[in-house]
């Protein structure tokens, strides 16, 4: 296998990871854009989304269904239900744990988020146990060979679903009235309110959309990562890093950061000829370098204090 093919294979692998990171990073970045607050429970919403998706899917298809048209339909039904459930959960968490603290010390909602994160992951461990579960493929998953490069249908689905979700989100934010309200609220909440925008509704909507995207990310990730109560911790952290690399608060930045981090993880260690057990070290070292050069992330605007 020549070097070019080898690196093409790494990039295919990295894109799959990156697409998942991007989807999850969107939730961090949207919430930050409006509330200037890191929702550390976001990773655990991803986990809840994955569990709900798995439960609905197995309820619809039975334990060991052969892949067919029905399993694919069931998969998308499961994804929609999981998105709905997670969206409601996200809104509920915001109402109960964050909204009352909106005017408190900046650390208070952060700690509240960490608390919610523990409640969700320990709750899941209590209900479901800590062992990993398989998410069965709803379609035949034999690898497709393009020359020496192998790609599987599930990788194509991950990338395709992520791209569709990101296009829909971009359209929503840029072309709809509610999207415009969101952008206004992220620029200046007080003025938006004076202009007649219901900022509370905008915030709820932001949590709903972010959580629904996390559910999609969680379900897609469970093909590769399995489903287990602590699955959101590392994946959530990586997605957060992706959001920061891209420029937190910036939607395109989150997408770019996710893809970049995924490819970096896949290519970094072999490119530098270091052991793969150091791959996270490479990824986080790049994060530090990016922040040293561009403290606001790649696409982050260098905003000065607003007057």
């Amino acid at each position: 296998m020549d070097t070019l093919t080898l690196y093409m294979q790494y990039i295919v692998n990295g894109l799959t990871l990156g697409a998942i990171y991007s989807l999850i990073a969107l939730g961090y970045t949207m919430v930050y854009g409006i509330l200037k607050f890191i929702n550390f429970a976001h990773g655990d919403i991803l986990m809840v989304g994955a569990f709900v998706g798995l439960l609905v899917y197995t309820a619809l298809t039975g334990e060991a269904a052969d892949p067919g048209v029905w399993t694919i339909i069931a998969f998308f039904i499961a994804m929609l239900i999981s998105m709905g459930f997670s969206a409601l959960l996200g809104v509920l968490i915001e109402r109960v744990a964050y909204k009352p603290l909106r005017n408190a010390n900046r650390l208070a909602p952060l700690l509240s988020a960490i608390g919610v994160s523990f409640i969700l992951s320990n709750g899941a461990a209590w209900i479901f146990g800590t062992q990993s579960r398989r998410f069965p493929y709803p379609f035949a998953n034999d690898p497709i060979r393009i020359g020496a490069i192998a790609i599987t249908p599930h990788q194509i689905v991950i990338i395709a679903v992520s791209v569709i979700m990101m296009i829909l989100l971009t359209f929503f934010v840029n072309k709809t009235r509610m999207g415009k309200a969101m952008r206004a609220a992220s620029l200046d909440q007080a003025t938006s309110m004076l202009m007649g925008i219901n900022v509370n509704r905008v915030i709820s909507l932001t949590f709903a959309i972010g959580s629904a995207l996390a559910a999609v990310g969680g379900i897609l990730a469970s093909f590769d990562f399995r489903v287990y109560p602590s699955m959101g911790t590392m994946t959530g952290l990586k997605a957060f890093v992706a959001a920061v690399i891209g420029g937190i608060g910036n939607i395109q930045g989150a997408m770019l950061g996710g893809v970049l981090l995924g490819i970096l993880e896949a290519v970094g260690a072999p490119l530098l000829h270091i052991p793969n057990s150091m791959r996270d070290t490479v990824a986080f070292a790049v994060l530090i370098i990016v922040l040293l050069v561009k403290p606001d992330g790649i696409l982050g605007k260098n905003e000065r204090e607003k007057v």
Partner: protein, 397 residues
């Protein structure tokens, strides 16, 4: 308080000394070192119980040379300090002719050095670290005094390498292992032996425990084109590796370790386990010695069941007793007793114990079998048990 403890200790030593002094002419004394109190007392208590059981059986049958055996059990609390203090009492005050234990690896490493230096047989029933039997023989005669009745960690990777090279005929292997003592120890051990046989590990990739994505490593391995891939990891990692390898179009066989004997692998990766070959525990022969031991142990200790280390301790006691019996030491001084017992323990051949047939290698390691399993679908099929004899792999049943 400290005074009280010191007083109690002095009193204890005086009484022990008095008892030992009085009885020295008509008993053979065997020492035991293990944790008898503290968090890990369960291991030490079961091991010492098994040794006591063996000794009571031997004494009930008339003892050896008309003398009774006596077990002097010392508490190490599982620590190096206490184990060395126990050793000093047993070696210099009690004049034991051999020691069973220590139970844990770290105390065993420390006591092994002293046993090699002073020339006292030590048989550990449970310390598996490969270095326990690698302590230099620092005694005047340069003889090895350290043995164990538990397989060394090095054995599994040794049998694996020989099996892959000699029986499966592989010359180029790749390995993918997690950075922990278990996986790394097996992967590096297998590599050493495999390359000393003439094979080559053409790709050696690592990951962290808890990693989920192994595609980069597998892509590198695929590029190195090995004949098979060794994955001595725990179930969760192995499941991911097998599945992602299939997705990358890797078709060469996978080889694994005793971590693979956990059936959870068939829940996590049921479609990808077919064809995996792994080295794991040998299936124990169902012997009457073992079942008799288990029954007698239950009767003597209120229905408690012995663990595998206790079984090893039971065998160790009988090996020492056999050595004392064969050696002609009834009238010998303690140093001659210790030397003669060492020679006889080292000469142990085809000892029939609760764990089946048992032999020692020259370094004092147990010559044990390892099982080889070939997975068909989701069912591990037992190929047989194997040993390394004179540098070659031999199927023993």
């Amino acid at each position: 308080m400290r005074k009280a403890i010191a007083f109690a200790l002095v009193a204890f030593v005086c009484i022990a000394g008095a008892v030992a002094g009085g009885a020295s002419e008509d008993v053979y004394k065997i020492g035991f070192i293990g944790p008898l109190t503290g968090d890990n007392a369960n291991y030490g208590i079961r091991c010492s119980n098994a040794a006591k059981l063996a000794i009571s059986e031997i004494n009930a049958a008339g003892g050896i040379d008309g003398k009774q055996l006596e077990l002097i059990a010392e508490d190490s609390e599982g620590t190096v300090d206490k184990a060395l203090a126990s050793y000093e009492k047993l070696a210099y005050t009690d004049d034991v002719c051999a020691i069973i234990g220590p139970v844990f690896t770290s105390p065993a490493l420390a006591v092994a050095q002293r046993c090699q230096e002073d020339g006292i047989v030590m048989i550990s029933p449970s310390a598996t670290h490969k270095d326990v039997t690698a302590q230099p023989a620092t005694n005047a005669d340069g003889l090895n005094y350290v043995f164990r009745t538990v397989p060394s960690d090095a054995l599994q990777s040794d049998v694996a390498a020989h099996y892959f090279y000699e029986i499966l005929g592989y010359r180029n292997l790749a390995s993918l292992y997690a950075m922990n003592d278990y996986s790394q120890g097996l992967a590096l051990g297998m590599k050493d032996t495999f390359e000393s046989l003439g094979g080559k590990v053409v790709a050696e990739e690592t990951c962290m425990v808890g990693d989920k994505d192994f595609r980069t490593q597998l892509t590198q391995i695929r590029a190195a084109n090995p004949e098979a891939i060794y994955i001595p990891n725990y179930t969760v990692e192995d499941a991911q590796i097998l599945e992602q390898a299939a997705q990358l179009g890797i078709t060469v066989p996978f080889l694994s370790s005793d971590g693979f004997s956990d059936p959870e692998i068939y829940n996590l990766a049921p479609d990808f386990t077919d064809g995996v070959i792994y080295v794991g525990p040998a299936q124990a022969e169902a012997s009457t010695i073992l079942s008799d031991f288990q029954v007698a142990y239950g009767e003597m200790y209120n229905g408690d069941a012995p663990d595998s280390f206790a079984t090893n301790s039971y065998d160790a006691t009988y090996i020492i007793a056999g050595a004392i019996d064969r050696a002609d030491i009834a009238e010998a001084g303690v140093d001659d007793q210790r030397l003669a017992v060492r020679d006889e323990v080292a000469a142990t051949k085809d000892f029939q114990g609760a764990n089946g047939t048992l032999n020692f290698a020259a370094n004092g390691d147990l010559v044990a079998s390892q099982g080889v399993y070939h997975v068909e679908g989701t069912t591990p099929v037992y190929v047989g048990s194997f040993q390394i004899v004179d540098g070659h792999i031999v199927q023993v049943d």
